[in-house]
């Protein structure tokens, strides 16, 4: 279990950001507060602060992504860091070069931070355990395990609208089985004190023993949405129709698609969130996605502030904490 704390330094501050699991409420709140301070930078005429001037950040993406990578890139450049994007397509990575070989090569470029996305659960942790001690790792999504910055930007968005986490009912709807976002959200919500978290979906998309994550499982959207304050929709990957997990998109939409009528079961001031990109008519109806209760576009701009917060906290620690593990 000791490895889990690889993301904290001796003083308990973030030296990597791998997962929301196991972090303290204070630390998560500090991320949200720091993000609050950065959230106005985008509105300034000069959209930059010099906090990370001279630092080099490598976006190391083993899985294609446009949106997440772009927001990380933007966040880094607003902090005045130099950014290098490396897209590793998995076929060239498999040509004999191991992940460790690749890390050694990148370390030689004198970088300070890797922002990593990988299709294997545990990849970010593995990289954090094996990189040189002066390099920090931020997990931008590993397999089905974790996507902590996405979860924190969702927490940030929730707090903007519903400041008291201890008074919330939150529903997460969709493919929780394969979702790293859902896992990171569930941990963060529990840590921040949300008393009731519901996981809603057909049994084929709910992981076994899901209750151990700290959620109540609902197989009906109607019962699951009753009286909730926040609805976190998940994207349905089209490939889930293969492997006999679901019959069809239209059956999924009929049972679990968020429509105006179903939304009415939730609290009247409930907010609707989605990590994007949206499959309109599959998991959510356009009238809801574009409706007054949707905060989906806010999530995107909050993503930059939260990623700035995490990067500055991880790289901005005082020099004496740069000791090796």
């Amino acid at each position: 279990m000791k490895n889990q704390h690889v993301q904290l330094d001796k003083e308990g501050r973030l030296r990597h950001f791998i997962t929301t699991e196991g972090l303290s409420r204070n630390l998560l709140t500090e991320i949200l507060d720091t993000a609050e301070n950065f959230s106005t930078v985008g509105n300034q005429q000069v959209k930059k602060v010099p906090l990370l001037r001279g630092k080099t950040i490598i976006n190391l993406f083993f899985e294609p992504s446009t949106r997440t990578r772009t927001t990380f890139e933007l966040a880094a450049s607003r902090l005045s860091a130099d950014v290098l994007n490396i897209d590793v397509n998995t076929s060239s990575a498999s040509k004999g070069e191991t992940l460790l070989d690749m890390l050694r090569n990148l370390e030689a470029m004198h970088s300070d931070m890797f922002v990593v996305r990988h299709n294997q659960s545990g990849a970010a942790q593995f990289i954090a355990e094996h990189v040189a001690p002066h390099i920090s790792v931020i997990n931008a999504g590993d397999g089905s395990h974790a996507h902590p910055t996405q979860a924190m930007l969702d927490m940030f968005t929730i707090r903007k609208h519903k400041p008291d986490f201890s008074a919330l009912r939150v529903a997460i709807v969709g493919d929780i089985m394969h979702s790293r976002v859902a896992r990171s959200e569930i941990h963060a919500l529990n840590i921040l004190g949300v008393p009731e978290i519901r996981a809603i979906g057909p049994q084929t998309l709910i992981p076994p023993d899901a209750e151990h994550l700290g959620v109540h499982v609902h197989h009906s959207l109607e019962s699951g949405l009753k009286d909730v304050d926040v609805i976190l929709m998940l994207r349905l990957q089209r490939e889930r129709m293969r492997g006999a997990l679901l019959p069809s998109e239209s059956e999924y939409f009929a049972r679990f698609g968020l429509t105006v009528e179903k939304l009415a079961l939730a609290q009247t001031d409930a907010i609707v969130m989605h990590p994007g990109p949206i499959n309109r008519g599959v998991e959510i109806e356009s009238a809801v996605a574009d409706g007054p209760q949707s905060v989906i576009l806010e999530q995107v701009s909050n993503g930059i502030a939260v990623r700035m917060a995490v990067m500055s906290m991880v790289l901005g620690r005082s020099p004496q904490s740069e000791e090796s593990r």
């Binding site: 279990m1 490895n3 889990q4 699991e21 191991t98 992940l99 460790l100 990988h118 294997q120 659960s121 545990g122 990849a123 942790q125 593995f126 094996h130 590993d142 397999g143 089905s144 395990h145 974790a146 790293r180 896992r183 992981p207 076994p208 023993d209 899901a210 151990h212 994550l213």
Partner: protein, 428 residues
């Protein structure tokens, strides 16, 4: 060659022998226990005072890739590792390179084992040609010319139940036992951890218990119909134990084995992506572990086997799902089994039996697994009280892959005798 092992505490579970006395060996065989036979003049003596003298261990499944693949544990280093572990007989499953599906490959293994002279190797023949699951292998020739002790699907589950049925029928008519790894591959595909709390938490693809139980159920039905004798290797789930146990009580000729890691570890030991705990079948729950322990205790599981799988260092240096499954287990088989004595799971006699007489009975070997006059002088001598700490880096095996690093264990092999020859002697 006259070898005398003096003054050791001889424990032979098959014959309920437990006494401090001497063993007399001439050439390859035990000639007397207790009193020197006429004309015996020791040319070599081993003083076993305060030591245990037990039958050489028999490991029913040791994966050695050679001939062919030098990187995954050469046959020489693994033979030495076996000897250092007190093991005198190992069975080689057919998924070698090349596959043990022709008498020539089996003969080559016997020849290599003889040349190295550290451990007896018994090849297990492939059930189907190239383990491809289509054509039956030449089972009778593999036995008669290749000295194979049984047939197995190795790590390659058969896709056709029809082929499995035919293979079992044919093996039954040859009076050969089948060794099965129960795994329904459509349920376990891409999985790397037990489907449950840990796979859910870490987002790892799970292997449900049903991958094992569905296969066991199907295979038991075919055993009943074909009358073949079957051994289930490395059972991991409590429902599979229950099903096989019931079949035994119904009189079916079936048996099962378990690994030390399934008796000591659970899915929780994966912790936060510890790839040393990536094994197949996967580590399961506390309840599974407890049922496996009870079955070893009551004898329904009469064999503990390492399922030794030495891996190169970088095989574990990858994210969990990309790492290779397997544990290098030859040198920890005995101490981890003895640890079950300290944990009050097994008596000392039963622990020794599960590593010697038990597997000998399953394999149908009537020349080893006991300390009796006329038997092969395959003997392990150990200091049962010596405490030590497992350090995989000091393994003789080429594979340093073990989740048991820093475990405190008891019982250290001091000598290993193979057919009357001392093949291992501890250095300290």
């Amino acid at each position: 060659m006259h070898l005398l092992i003096k003054n050791g505490r001889i424990i032979d579970p098959a014959n309920q022998r437990d006494e401090v006395t001497d063993i007399f060996i001439v050439d390859e065989a035990i000639v007397a226990i207790g009193k020197a036979p006429e004309g015996f003049k020791a040319t070599q003596e081993i003083d076993a005072t305060n030591q245990l003298v037990i039958p050489g261990l028999i490991d029913i499944s040791v994966n050695i890739k050679k001939p062919g693949d030098k990187n995954k544990g050469s046959i020489a280093s693994e033979s030495k590792a076996a000897a250092a572990g007190g093991i005198t007989t190992i069975c080689i499953p057919p998924d070698t390179i090349p596959v043990i599906d022709s008498p020539a490959v089996a003969e080559m293994i016997h020849r290599t084992a003889n040349d190295i002279g550290q451990v007896r190797m018994l090849p297990v023949a492939a059930l189907t040609a190239a383990l491809a699951g289509e054509h039956l292998a030449e089972m009778a020739l593999l036995r008669d010319r290749g000295g194979c002790i049984g047939v197995s699907n190795g790590n390659n589950p058969l896709h056709s139940i029809l082929v499995m049925r035919r293979a079992m029928e044919y093996a039954a008519s040859c009076r050969m036992q089948v060794y099965l790894r129960a795994n329904e591959v459509s349920l376990s595909k891409n999985g790397c951890a037990h489907e449950g709390v840990i796979s859910t938490r870490l987002g790892l693809t799970g292997i449900p218990e049903a991958a094992e139980t569905v296969a066991v159920a199907r295979e038991l039905m075919l055993v009943e119909q074909t009358g073949v004798s079957a051994h289930f290797l490395h059972i991991s789930s409590h429902h599979a134990v229950t099903m096989i146990n019931r079949a035994q009580q119904d009189g079916l000729p079936v048996s099962m084995s378990v690994t030390p890691h399934h008796l000591h570890l659970t899915e929780m030991d994966i912790g936060y992506f510890n790839s040393q705990c990536h094994v197949l079948p996967p580590l399961r729950t506390q309840r599974d572990r407890d049922v496996l322990r009870n079955a070893v205790k009551d004898g329904s599981i009469s064999c503990i086997s390492s399922d030794h799988r030495p891996l190169p260092a970088d095989a574990k240096l990858a994210p969990f799902g990309d790492s290779s499954p397997g544990i290098s287990g030859l040198e920890t088989l005995l101490p981890l089994t003895l640890r079950l004595v300290d944990e009050d799971v097994l008596s000392l006699h039963d622990a020794i039996s599960r590593l010697s007489h038990g597997p000998a009975q399953i394999l149908g070997l009537n020349d080893c697994g006991q300390l009796q006059v006329g038997y092969r002088a395959d003997i392990c001598i150990l200091d049962a009280e010596q405490h030590w700490s497992i350090n995989p880096e000091s393994f003789i095996s080429s594979g340093k892959n073990s989740p048991f690093s820093d475990w405190e264990v008891k019982g250290k092999v001091t000598h290993t005798i193979l057919a009357g020859q001392c093949v291992y002697q501890a250095t300290e």
